[in-house]
């Protein structure tokens, strides 16, 4: 049961990390392989804030979010915007280039060893609930990510911005024709998604391990969430993340040497069976 709990925590973390990528792909049909770099940025800025500047951890989290969002907004307006219309190959090349730069840059500035964030003692350790061991940190992750998911769903379903976003994801041209400023929608969404990734990076440093190779190491997980979950809803990636999280943790526990193998194989089978993802609508692009 603890494993299940851990798996859920891992899954929700993955969701927060990957949902920005899902929206980017669905909205602009843009393959952003550098998404993990924003997560890494969030992790490292939190290291600096909490470890070196003494900022309280729980304050560091929203700051990481803001940092990621700002970084995303700046890069989007200056660089990404020039690549939207280009071919998928160009997008892949561009974002790989960004990853290379990010990885080398972080290595240079912060060194190549794994970084640990000083977690407040309140969040360390575990407690027992009906005989199940619950880690405090993981519980916090579930709470925070759960709240975020609810908030995201609310924004998407019940706000004007949300409906504009859904319209633009559905059909960009028609949305433009209706007067929706797709460029602005995308800029905001990209920034928000990057912020979430950064927050996920900050939260995840403890669980996933933070080092300059983070973007490439976890890229496949983000891609799995996005392709299996589809890009036309929040629920798709959410369910996909939870499944992946549980699957990965269980795999590591029960079949340690083969766990990654199992995950990748399932992914390949899934992609073949349903190239549009498990949750994509029938009329998806």
């Amino acid at each position: 049961m603890t494993i299940l709990f851990d798996g859920i925590a891992y899954g929700m973390l993955l969701f927060v990390l990957a949902c920005g990528l899902s929206v980017t792909l669905g909205l602009m049909n843009f393959i952003n392989l550098a998404h993990g770099a924003f997560a890494m940025a969030g992790g490292y800025i939190t290291v600096v804030l909490v470890n070196r500047l003494g900022v309280p951890f729980l304050l560091g989290l929203p700051l990481a979010f803001l940092f990621g969002a700002a970084l995303g907004a700046v890069l989007e307006r200056t660089l990404y915007v020039h690549v939207y219309a280009k071919s998928h190959l160009d997008q892949v090349l561009f974002t790989i280039g960004l990853v290379f730069m990010a990885v080398a840059g972080v290595d240079y500035v912060m060194g190549s060893s794994q970084q640990f964030i000083n977690i407040p003692t309140m969040l360390q350790g575990q407690f027992d609930v009906f005989g199940v061991r619950i880690g405090r940190y993981r519980l916090m992750i579930i709470v925070i990510c759960g709240l975020l998911t609810v908030a995201l769903q609310f924004i998407l379903a019940s706000t004007r911005f949300g409906s504009r976003l859904r319209a633009a994801v559905d059909d960009q041209r028609v949305a433009r024709g209706l007067g929706i400023n797709v460029g602005a929608v995308f800029g905001l969404t990209f920034a928000f998604g990057s912020g979430l990734a950064a927050l996920g990076g900050a939260l995840g440093a403890e669980i996933l391990g933070l080092d300059p190779n983070f973007p490439l190491k976890y890229l496949i997980y983000f891609l799995i969430v996005v392709t299996v979950g589809g890009t036309s809803s929040i629920t798709g990636p959410f369910v996909a993340s939870i499944l992946l999280g549980i699957g990965d943790v269980m795999g590591k526990y029960y079949v340690p040497t083969l766990s990654a193998f199992v995950i990748y194989s399932i992914m390949i089978v899934m992609l073949l069976w349903r190239p549009q993802g498990l949750f994509a609508r029938a009329s998806a692009r």
């Binding site: 280009k86 071919s87 090349l93 790989i96 290379f100 290595d107 890229l219 891609l223």
Partner: protein, 347 residues
Amino acid sequence: MSDISRPLAAQVTEFLLRRARWSPIEIAFWLVAASTIWLFPARHLILTEICIWALFALSLDLILGYAGIISLGHAAFFGLGAYAAGLIGKYDIIGEPALALVASGLAAAGLGFATSFLVLRGSDLTRLMVTFGISLLLRELANKYSEISGGADGLQGVEIKPLLGAFRFDLYGHTGYAYSLVVLFVLFLLARRVVQSPFGLSLQAIRGNPLRSSAVGIATNWRLVAIYTLSAGYAGVAGALLAQTQAFASLEMFSVERSADVLLILIIGGTGYLYGGIIGALIFRFLQDYLSTLTARYWQFWIGLILIAIVLVGRDRIAGWTTPLRKLADALGRWRPGWRSAAGGKP
């Protein structure tokens, strides 16, 4: 055929045959390449590296430049070829390195054939992920079965017998280089024939317009399977060359970094005209050397920057800068590059 048609027929035939002719620049290039065996003995080790990257990039060009398949996992075949050659050498399964090379290439081609069906379906992103996933899978397998593969330490104790029974693989890499260059040349010749054949033309058609291709009777899937298999075989041979010239194989050969690097090399040199891999490998290796002297460990940063610059400036526009050279080549003997894609960004 009518009287009007005869000169027209001659013109058409001339046009088609001209596409395939060896231009003087090409001949000069290979002569110079061959001469490096004798002229630059001190550089043989780095030249061998370049040959191997060039062959690897050439293999990627076959699927990317000619068939339009974007792969982020081509290192899977490279790594498989490397480990195959390494294991063959270590356990003396095949004594002659050249035969071992062929066997390794076939093994990689086999994997390519098996996985080609996965690559036919889905969007660019799906293909990207499937290819990526396969290379990750192989890496995991090699990691798990470390009794066979040596795991994270790499394959140890590989011994390669003398080539053709006579040429020992020496520390200075002389044999290794001549070997690699010859292999590169032979495989290049084969690739050149294939892309200029009716089969090769059909691949370009499939890349340009798959809908129309099937509407003129082309069984697109089987053609793609064929070129993917060939490409995998070539990548496997490149990996085997590395394993044989260095008597070593490691998990890194399956890595996404290697897949990304070969993609970068091909893009630098240009896709769709077969020489892109070779030119790209030359530029990449010299860049790497130059940048490493500037910034030790962090040269990847500058590579990333160059990649971004290439994309932002536009690969078509960069192709345009080489137009004078291309026009010269054309004037001398009509090698027609096929990579000037129409604006709108096909790879």
